[in-house]
Subunit: 261 residues, 3 copies
């Protein structure tokens, strides 16, 4: 069976996650449910969008990814199904899927508006349990998404900053602070490949500055600061054995400059 993954801002250990799992298993007892994370900072749609972009493509084709970072729950924001690449997504239409959709335009987009597929009564504060979980369970049982919604022409996008490339350097942003406090940027290995990586390379972010781009941090002393291309193929800044985000007070959105001067 295609796995159902869950990505939420409910908090690690929240019983609301278990409520969703109970609803899914009640409809599909053999469902395979995998937690992506429940530690998305509360209502931080951008954080969720980056996690989904990095993690969802690692799952088997036809997985069903349910994402609940939903500050607008109970308002008239839509809940959508989208087919992006070979993966299925169920999420509020608030930009959670915007990074995935920028990378690969969705081949199918539906507004989930057929209450006969939901759990009733529908709580006005927990559409994850009452709408998204039952829809995901039914998708995993093979129900066609078309039966559960109405086609829409586009999804809500978010204003993601563009990386600025110039002859003398690159200016991007931190897009994610990970569980180690590493600062993940939107500057990709591909972008960097057009520049020399030499002793004149300087990376700056907030009050943090470090020379050179390293291959790994495994050979650095604790406390060293390193810029390197991380596991998601993006430039990241790490404090070896420490938490760069806390140490330098840097949050998602902070600009990052790579210069060769």
């Amino acid at each position: 069976v295609s796995p159902i993954t869950l990505t939420t801002d409910f908090g690690v250990g929240s019983h609301y996650v278990a409520a969703m799992k109970g609803v899914i298993l009640s409809l599909h007892p053999a469902a395979a449910i995998v937690d992506v994370t429940h530690a998305v900072p509360a209502q931080d749609v951008r954080h969720g969008a980056v996690i989904l972009e990095d993690v969802a493509p690692l799952f088997p084709a036809d997985s069903i990814h349910v994402a609940v970072v939903d500050p607008g729950v109970g308002t008239d924001r839509a809940i959508v199904y989208a087919r992006i690449g070979r993966q299925n997504f169920v999420a509020p239409d608030n930009g959670l899927l915007s990074r995935l959709a920028r990378r690969t335009p969705p081949s199918k987009m539906l507004r989930l508006d057929r209450p006969e597929y939901w759990r009733h009564p529908v709580s006005s504060t927990f559409h994850g349990r009452d709408i998204m979980a039952p829809v995901a369970a039914r998708l995993s049982l093979g129900a066609p998404p078309e039966a559960m919604g109405t086609p829409v022409g586009r999804l809500v996008d978010l204003a993601w900053p563009e990386v600025q490339l110039s002859p003398r350097g690159i200016v991007g942003s931190v897009i994610l602070v990970d569980s180690f406090g590493n600062l993940i940027t939107d500057i990709t290995a591909e972008m960097l490949s057009n520049y020399p990586c030499n002793e004149r390379t300087r990376i700056a972010c907030g009050s943090l500055e470090t020379p050179g781009i390293r291959r790994t941090y495994g050979d650095l002393a604790p406390g060293a600061l390193a810029a390197l291309v991380g596991s998601s193929g993006r430039l990241e800044l790490a404090l070896v054995g420490g938490n760069a985000a806390v140490r330098f007070g840097i949050k998602a959105g902070t600009p990052v400059a790579v210069r060769w001067d």
Copy 2:
């Protein structure tokens, strides 16, 4: 197979949870194990009881819910099996099942006292691993609960406060602080349905006071305080984009008054 759920106060990320899973899988390799939560505050039986009341009924019929919030481990408190509604429970007999049992009287109650179904040697500090996990595994394999225990006539109850209903208002209590810091009360939508919900409604709890009962918080500004009927069908108090429990210093047990004056 019927899922086995786990609810404990071991702490998120505790390897003791994995110890229980290892024991279950050793007896039943195809068992489907679902975490409800391991973030019950240490030894907070009441918190666990509310979580079980809210989450267990969402699971498929015949699920096996194992709950380990067990300040009396190693003393002569019993470990019990109970059939409540269409669900099975295995827990210390300390009130953990008391909210479920008040709602639906158990149709079967057994003291689990047959050591031949346990893991040996039985640790005096970890009956979750050595008694409850093997019993749950055997239940999931189809063993009849009667084989593993002796019928008992009642379970330990806890003194849950009664909600006071009067012509001028309702006085209840906070029964759970959830993972968002929302204050979940014992005042139900059904109780509220007998009162008008109008501009004269006032909700007070500790130093917190707010007018009216809203349908959702999705349309409120961050920082707004809202009373609404939450996803468990109970009145709850939430600070939009914040943590009401921390902000107002309110814990489970604090009285909540709804007045129309």
Copy 3:
């Protein structure tokens, strides 16, 4: 199918864990994946080694335990497969398996050096996802470990302190602080069985001192300090209803003395 367990220092709620699960499921959609813990303190190989020693033997024979506490990621430290007892392990060769291997010498040890079994491109910072996860998935599909590596004669060991036994007492160490803040030592029930346990027994650790060894803490008042043989068969020190590690400022490595004087 044999379960695959995951033990990491990625942090509770880290999406890097989900990345590993996605890779495993992509290769083996029916894999059964169980989290042991992701709360190993960052880069604390010793903590991980104790957890593995305590938890892995509880799992079914032929389980595949993947452990990623890997401060040397990207350097030339090996990644190894080991067969220890009836269990399989995949881990960096940095001492993570050293407690298990001291207890039961591995019957098979391989350096995992066949890139054709890995995920490509291999990130220099995330061998858990790119090397260990695919190897574990293939083991769970029945691939022979010999196909994926080259035999080695030994694993990296760590200098674990020896427990000192003398006529007047025992001197050992705290080897783990658990999720309750209990102090787990390397003094076993078997060692203690050679000594009397009477009113003259004194246990001391840092600024903590307590008389006698108890059977359980379930019958002690909150705030009481207790020494007892815990669920892993080792002497442990617990503060009833509290956190002994925080209260007494004690960390793993602190000596523990049991005296009869």
